[in-house]
Symmetry: C2
């Protein structure tokens, strides 16, 4: 039988143990919480300043005004092998706002790429990513959308967020990054950005995991995703950037890390105005070859918003003062190049006109994901050039229009 | 006053609360623990298989025997911006064993690079890294050393771990990766690897954060770090790979991610035998330019172990059957190149002989971190080529020898 004294002692013991347990739990939670928010980026060189090494870019003469990064909102569509690392890099760089779109769930099968961890398996990718990223940098504003952008309702909502989800209330985002793994989603982003005149960057990694690319698409100024079949980095083996159903794509954290790095580097250069912003940069991991190129929009593009943007761009260019045009040209076409980079000539309108056949001239190391069959042409002969892909661009675009 | 009944009730309440608290704490810990170990890598395409996308490399015809990755031990020296991501990539790829060397502590000032998180501030880098990596992939064997490899005792221990820390008891590691940020540590690794005949790869990122490189060093076969001043990727601005005291280097997660990706890609190609293993691959982020080159060892290298390895390599090459030599040549010198990569001619022994002056011919985009002053020459004139660096190679090497 328990005496009152024994029971009182037991209560005290239990109370102490509970306090300890709660303290531990609190510390664990505290540990999961990150540093406090920082109002203003400082260049102070102290161990406790998460921005000192970024602000040092100013002292090094690389970036004029690094703090400006806080004024930008970037949408990342697809938070997989490339998108998650892209979001992490932007978060660590101190971007103002990140909008994440994905409808997938973290699986153990994703653990061969950077970012997600085994204990996150089963969580939605956008939720898991937001949790990790907010912990890394609480200064960034996050907006997440756990849906597939290619369905009708979601596409409308996606358009709305792109055009009104910027840092200033009601303003558009500053850049859209495509880190998706399928053709439909890329075309949805292309359609949205053409309609809105929104500059975006596309990224892709091949199914065999050993090549990838990034591409800048400024509606009306550079070729859009519908202007020509998507360009991929060639390899000795048959490959496509477009994921085919039923095929388990290979992937490597290396290739995805390099592509994410090239993409975010291009984003930083674009937003903060330093270096040469690449229009197209490929990565062939087998040969360590990185082809670059530039492509003008196709005046015969099937996307009406693309051709409208082209007209507007031409009109604006014509109205611009002469020196101004030359300056912009220099910046974008990177003719200032002193490194002996073999720059490929831009693809002309004439070349694009015949792009429906296999006549398009591309630089070494870059090929088309497929060719567009000649309209009303011999199905058998065009099939030979289409290769392994079952869908032609037109068929795929028809599918797109259905959604 | 408490009655016995009241006290008993309180004890039950507290016991229940404590059970709940402990359960929660256990679940938190459980969550921090990762997936169970996996005995054998499987290619099965299920969401729960962390190796399915890697094993798919076999089906894609890229890698013949991916499982072999489990047989290799890799040492990573320096677990900072490049080293931590390098270690994470290798962990996710399922490397057999990782040996991590660093003596630094995680700081908030490191948060602009990938991998470490704010709650790890204050922990040793190797301990924090091991914790995260083990959680990501418990199949990897970790061995961590929280010390500076350049002190006498630690250097001896480092040599021992390189030569006996392999997967098979008493055998050497398969590869050493240098991800350090200073000249002394690079020279220590170089000295150790020359003496042991250990192949290693060097990596570096410039102080201004916009260029970097990786380099393969096979003692006796390719130029070692003492054969010639270290090569860096040129930029318009003054820059050095070597960290100078008192200068807060800028850094970017993008550049470091790209360099880590190039490094581990080269490691995978080297260990698993696919693609072309690069001898030197540079990255100029401002222009998106990636120069490659190859450099033979300097027969007049100041490291006696390097010249000894050169003799042994030549002897072995001479004894090798004719066809065998040709085969290896093709593989390494990448002459099979169909992508129009502008391959620079290898630097000859004659060029290296005169490398103490500024006469060394280097491909576009690659420069020496500094030049070696002519022995007994005019101090004032050599100082002009040494530029901002206060130490000459010889001075630095003399310092190295003192330790």
């Amino acid at each position: 039988m328990s005496t009152v004294e024994e029971l009182k002692l037991r209560v005290r013991e239990l109370e102490n143990e509970l306090i300890k347990c709660k303290q531990k739990s609190y510390e664990d939670t505290e540990q999961a919480c990150s540093r406090p928010k920082i109002d203003q980026m400082s260049a102070e060189v102290v161990d406790s300043n998460p921005y000192s090494r970024l602000m040092a870019l100013k002292r090094m003469g690389i970036v004029e005004d690094y703090e400006k990064i806080r004024l930008y909102a970037v949408a990342v569509v697809g938070v997989g092998g490339v998108g998650s690392v892209t979001a992490e890099m932007l978060t660590r760089c101190g971007i103002g706002k990140l909008l994440l779109f994905d409808y997938d769930t973290v699986e153990l099968a994703n653990m061969n790429r950077l970012f997600f961890q085994p204990h996150q398996a089963g969580f939605s990718k956008v939720k898991a990513a937001e949790h990790t990223l907010r912990n890394i940098n609480p200064d960034v504003i996050f907006e997440i959308h756990n849906y597939n952008i290619t369905t009708v309702d979601n596409f409308t909502h996606f358009m709305d967020r792109i055009s009104h989800g910027g840092l200033q209330v009601g303003k558009p985002v500053d850049l859209v990054l495509s880190c998706v793994d399928n053709f439909e989603a890329r075309m949805a982003i292309n359609t949205a950005c053409n309609e809105l005149g929104q500059t975006w960057m596309e990224s892709g990694v091949s199914e065999n995991a050993v090549s990838g690319h990034i591409q800048l698409i400024a509606p009306g100024e550079t070729a859009c995703f519908a202007c020509a079949p998507p360009l991929v980095v060639a390899a000795n083996i048959d490959e496509k950037t477009l994921k085919r159903d039923g095929v388990c794509a290979a992937s490597l954290p290396t290739t995805m890390g390099v592509v994410a790095g090239m993409l975010v580097q291009n984003v930083l250069k674009f937003l903060l105005g330093f270096g040469t912003v690449s229009h197209y940069l490929g990565y062939n991991a087998m040969q360590d070859f990185f082809p670059t190129m530039s492509m003008k929009p196709n005046p015969y593009c099937s996307d009406v918003h693309c051709t409208r943007q082209q007209q507007e761009y031409k009109k604006n260019e014509a109205q611009r003062p002469r020196e101004d045009v030359a300056e912009v040209k220099d910046e974008v076409v990177h003719e200032d190049n002193e490194w002996g980079i073999e720059l490929v000539s831009e693809i002309t309108e004439e070349e694009l006109k015949v792009a429906s056949g296999p006549a398009l001239t591309l630089p070494d190391g870059i090929t088309l994901a497929y060719t567009i069959p000649v309209e009303g042409g011999d199905a058998a002969s065009s099939a030979a050039t289409v290769g392994d892909t079952d869908c032609s661009l037109e068929e795929l675009m028809a599918q797109m229009k259905k959604i």
